[in-house]
Every structure is written in C-alpha cells, then in structure tokens.
Symmetry: C2
Subunit: 381 residues, 2 copies
C-alpha cells in the first residue's frame, strides 16, 4: 500500500489537508511559553464556533474517549447515578465508563435503532446526577436526538453529557441551545486534524456540580479547565504540541470555508452517498424516525447480497480506497463511509466509482456509472 | 520570536530532528490497519532496547504523566498502600497520584536532596503493595538511586514503579536488571519525538498483581497491553498516528547512532555543561552522594549572583536560545539546560556562548569565552 496515494474514507481518522500536515513540521516550542498559550487560546475561541457555545473549552492530549472519561470521572462519584443511553458501540462505551466510576443505569437499544424517549424519561424520573449519550453513533451511522434528551435532562435536573466526537462541526450541534453541559469532540473527525486531541466544553452548571476530586488524575477536567484559564493558557500536563499546530491551521481552514458552510457541505455529501447507495441497490443500515436521522458524517450501509467484507473492502483497498467495516456484532454485515472535514467531491466520486468496480466484478451490477451519476446529481445541486 | 530560528534547550519537549518532523506530514492512515500495527510493533521492539527490558511495551496517547497515572491506577486500590519517594516536583506528582487511588505513604526529601535509603526501607518495612520513584528528577537535575530502591522493592515484595521520563535513553536505565516492574517514559525527552506519547513497560510480576479493574478507564494499562499484543498491534482508543510516524523515525535515528552511543553522548554533553558552569562560577543546584548523581539529561544551576530570571532567561530568549527556569518553589532560583535526544555540540556551544553574553552584560564576568572553552574541552575529549 502506498499511503501517499491512498484515499482514506473512514469515519475518522479522516483525511488531513496537506497544509495542516505541514503545520506539524514546525520546530518544537516550549509548552509553557506565551507562543503555545496564544495557539491554545486561539484554538479555544474558534472551537466555540464549532461547538456553538459560550462555555469554557479545554483541549486535552488523548483520544476522544479521554474526553468522555474526563466528563464522567469528574461528575460521577461511587454513589452517584448516571443514565447512559446506547444504540451502538460508543453509547456502550459510556456505559462502561459509567460503571467504572459510579452507579450506571443503562438504557440500551439495539445497535442502529432510534432511542425510545419514553424509556429515557422513565430512567431519569428515578433520579440521576447525569445523563450521557452519543450524538452521532459512528458505529451505525445514526444521529441521535440530543435536543430532545437535553430537554429531559433539564426537566430532571441532570448534568447532560454528549459525545459529539463524530458530530461536532459536521452535524448540526447546538451545545448551548440544547442544554449540553459537557460536550466532547476529537481532533480526527470533522476538524480534520490527526487524532490525539480531545476537546471538551463545560457549562458553569457542570462546573458547580463537579466532584470535590475527579476519580481520574490525568483526565481531571477541573485541572484542565484551571490551566486553560491561565494567562498564557496552559495544560496541566505536557501537551502534544504538533497537534496544536495542526489544529490551529485546520481551524483557520474551517473559518475560511465558514463553519456553517462546512456543516452544509457534510450534509450534502452524506446525502450524495445515500443517493449513490440507493442507485446501486444498497440498503442503509440504521433505522430512523422523526428525531433520529441518517448521519451527515458517516453513512453505514448493509453489505450487498453475496459480497464478503473481504471482497468489498479488501478489493477497494487494493484500488487505493479505504472504507470502514462494521464493528463487533456488525463485523462483515455493514460497511461505512465518512463524510467529514475536508473530504471533497472528487474523493467521494472516486470512492463510489471504486465501489462500483467491485460490485461489477462480484456480479451485483451489470454496468458502471449509476452510483456516480446519482451522487453527482446531488453534489452539483 | 521566530520559532524556525530558535534553539530549544529545555529538558523537554526537546529539539526534534527535521527528518522526524517531516515524518509527521505523511497522510493519515487507519489506526486499525496492518500498516499502523507494523509501526506500533516495530516501535515497541526498538523501545525494548531503550528500556533495556524484555517486558511488554505499551504506547499510550498522552503525556508521560498518563503513564505514571496508568501504573498507579492499575495496581493500587482504595485499601492498598503505595510508598512514593520524592525530592522534586515529579516525585511529588507520584504522591498526588497515589493519594488519588489508594493509601499513600510519602517519603519526602527536600527538593534536590539525595534519598536517604534508610527512610525508604523503613517505609517499606511497614508493608506496601508498591513503591514509586522518579529516576531522573527533571525539576532539580538529580538522578536518584533506582537500582538501590529496586533491591529494597524486591526484598519487601513491592511492585516497583519508576518514572524514567527524562531518563530512559539518556541516563543508564536497566529496567530488568534493576527489578523495575513498571517503567515509564515520554516521547518528548531522550527519544526526541514531539510530546504526546507515553511509553510503559510492564513485567509479568506487575501484570499478575494488577487490580481486577483499573481505577481509570482511559489509562487502563491492562486494556493497553491487551491491544498491544493483538496482531496487528493496536491501541484500545484512537492513537495520535503522526506521533507514531515520528517515533518510528526517531527510533531509526537512535538505532543508527546506537542506543549506548546516545547515552554516552548525553553523559559527555551534561559533563560539558557542568564544566562550563564551573568555569563561569555558576553553582550546580542538586546535592549528590554515592548513589545520587548529577543528571546526564538536565543540568540545574543556581541563578548567578545578582542576575534575575527575567534578565537571564529573558535575555537568552531574545538571542534565540530557550532554557528552563525553576518550577514552583525554585522559580527564579535556578535555571536548567537539557541534554537529551539529538542535541548537538553546536547547540550546546551556542547556548553557553549566549549565556556568557548575558553574564557579561550583567557584570558577572568580564570577558567571554571561558565557558565555551571549558565546554569544548570536554566535548572534544
């Protein structure tokens, strides 16, 4: 595999723009310098636009999971209850984290099925310090109703924690309007930065309800917020400096495009993938309803009749296009295409064209072009 | 400040070689691919040479502190005792971490003073599940007696945890020979990689004594080791891919130089700094004895008579050379120069020459050159 000539179309890490990659090759600077502080502060300000929030932002060195961990470990003590809603792998991760630190009340749906909000409300009625959910369930390509759960969290006075990792900057995500107390994203998704930074926004209400001491030392959100508020801004522990260089450059790119324009582009791109799938007779995987939508950042499709994961994804990889498979119970049953960050129309057309070549070879279609044509109609609309 | 023309001489993050910086600008790859797994495995193998160990290596996305956190959170439950020895900032960090997860027995010495091994033994005699120490105390420039504490850990059957963050690859550090059960380093020290990766080696004995469940979710060492052993090697959560590219390249550089040669170079370079300091009438900060030595990776010196931190470090920074100040209680009292990784003779000579120009301006010396000359004599020996 020649990675310089490979197209990465997985739902994160996503393709990174060359100017962002180049930003990482600047010489190292001290993480306690004014120069670093200025980069941190500028990123935090621009990230507020991404998050649609006025809340304080903390940038932590680690994966998005570190942000989820920090949120729960900072709020939930051994005796505290947390309601965790899941309909895929990452929702279940919140359950695992909740069980690690406190009393977890899981509200579990089948992977890819929409939330039943009555069940969520029934769990919250029993009383809980917090409720956690994944906005965009990457494992199944479904966008969950954060706004509606936010209303319930407010009604039952629970701290509302939302994993926006594959959502923020791609899907509509209104942190403040939806009452989201702690929102989390990762650098490698719609920001189109390499992986390694978690970004967390924290409301004053959540800060008031922090435990006296976080259950975690490294993921101690209180310590991260305190350092972020210093002048110059800092991190409590040595940060991944090159990833901050990359994030600054990527946020400049996003600001140049416009934050709203980027979200609209992701919406159109995801629609174009769905349209191509339909033209090719490929079924979408998740179930939707009035509050739960096909994701704008990742499209999950059922494996076409009679085609193995190895033939489909392995074949595409040989042609230089990497798409994701299903995780855990969905291994071999679905495949997924990401439409986040700086993904272009050209990237998408190459992806569908490559998929068509595989389907042609496997006998699922008899000629090439219908998927590409359907996609192009949406992209050009 | 033009960061492209600034020399970073702090004890981490250290200067990174251009070829390592360039390695980070490769396109993103999937962290679940064979390509990533091969990089992880190659790094882990080469790191064994750095660590002088046969133990399993885990590479985690986060600062060195994440490694310290992972070690303690994995071993120490609420009812378990851990002896933490400190004579500087990072030793005290182990105490903070120990207090977060279990019953901490601090053995505290003044910053920069050698350990009193009798006091360490007295604490261990009372019984403890683990003992933790910092090998090279970056905050004071002192190398602590890991070998001797390792003997005591064995005698009292305690899991031996050593922060080797600013040590491994620079100082002599014999993980297996010294009975070190969990050794930790960070990418931004002697490896000369940008910050953002923690590396941890874990002995079979430590694995046997892991808690059923780590106190931390993200820093769960058991999960990290399990993923590292997969084929292809993985990480439990999305890793900072570009830092793995950088680490692979930096390890190639270290292997080309030779791991032993690199340690010897650091030793000679640190000696050359001490020699220059002596020639310039600057006192070294830490106290040493038969088991505690001036560090080969960071030299801590007292601020010269009548010169403020601002004049010395601020003046050097204006001339493009960044050195570190003292931390916390030592702020304004000491300054520190790192000699780790790919630091060259030219870098060191420029540093001392710049220091001389400041001392001349402040009236501490009457002519330039003695420091440079003394340094050069050591470097050329």
């Amino acid at each position: 595999m020649d990675i310089e000539d490979t197209l990465l179309m997985i739902p994160g890490p996503v393709k990174v723009a060359p100017r962002v990659l180049r930003a990482m090759s600047k010489p190292m600077i001290s993480h306690r310098s004014g120069e670093f502080g200025a980069i941190y502060s500028e990123c935090a300000e621009l990230l507020k636009e991404f998050f649609q929030t006025k809340n304080q932002i903390a940038i932590m060195t680690g994966s998005g999971t570190l942000g989820m961990d920090a949120a729960v470990a900072g709020i939930i003590g051994h005796e505290d209850k947390i309601v965790t809603i899941s309909n895929g792998k990452f929702g279940e991760r919140f359950t695992e984290i909740g069980e690690r630190y406190g009393k977890c009340v899981p509200v579990k749906f089948d992977w890819g099925m929409p939330f039943d909000l009555d069940r969520v409300e029934a769990a919250l009625e029993e009383g809980a310090k917090a409720v956690a959910m994944v906005h965009n369930e990457t494992s199944v390509g479904l966008t969950n109703p954060a706004k509606e759960v936010g209303r319930l969290a407010k009604k039952y006075d629970a701290v509302f924690i939302v994993d926006g990792i594959s959502s923020i900057g791609g899907n509509e995500f209104l942190t403040d309007e939806w009452n989201i107390d702690i929102a989390i994203t990762g650098s490698q998704k719609a920001l189109a930065v390499p992986p390694g930074l978690a970004v967390v926004s924290v409301s004053p209400r959540a800060e008031e309800r922090f435990l006296a001491q976080s259950a975690s030392y490294y993921a101690d959100l209180k310590a991260h917020l305190k350092s972020a508020r210093k002048s110059p801004a800092q991190t409590p522990f040595t940060p991944a400096v090159p990833l901050f260089f990359a994030m600054q450059e990527a946020l400049h790119m996003a600001a140049e495009e416009g934050f709203a324009a980027r979200r609209e582009r992701a919406a159109k791109q995801a629609e174009s993938v769905r349209s191509a799938a339909k033209a090719l007779g490929i079924e979408l995987f998740p179930q939707t309803n009035e509050n739960s939508h096909y994701s704008n950042t990742v499209t999950a499709m059922k494996m076409p009749e009679g085609v193995s994961d190895d033939k489909l994804r392995g074949g595409m990889k040989k042609k230089g296009v990497i798409v994701s498979g299903g995780q855990e119970q969905l291994k071999g049953k679905i495949f997924r295409i990401g439409t986040m960050g700086v993904c272009s129309s050209g990237d998408l057309l190459r992806t569908i064209q490559t998929l068509e070549l595989i389907l042609l070879k496997e006998g699922n279609i008899h000629s090439c072009g219908v998927g590409v044509e359907a996609m192009s109609r949406v992209l050009d609309s």
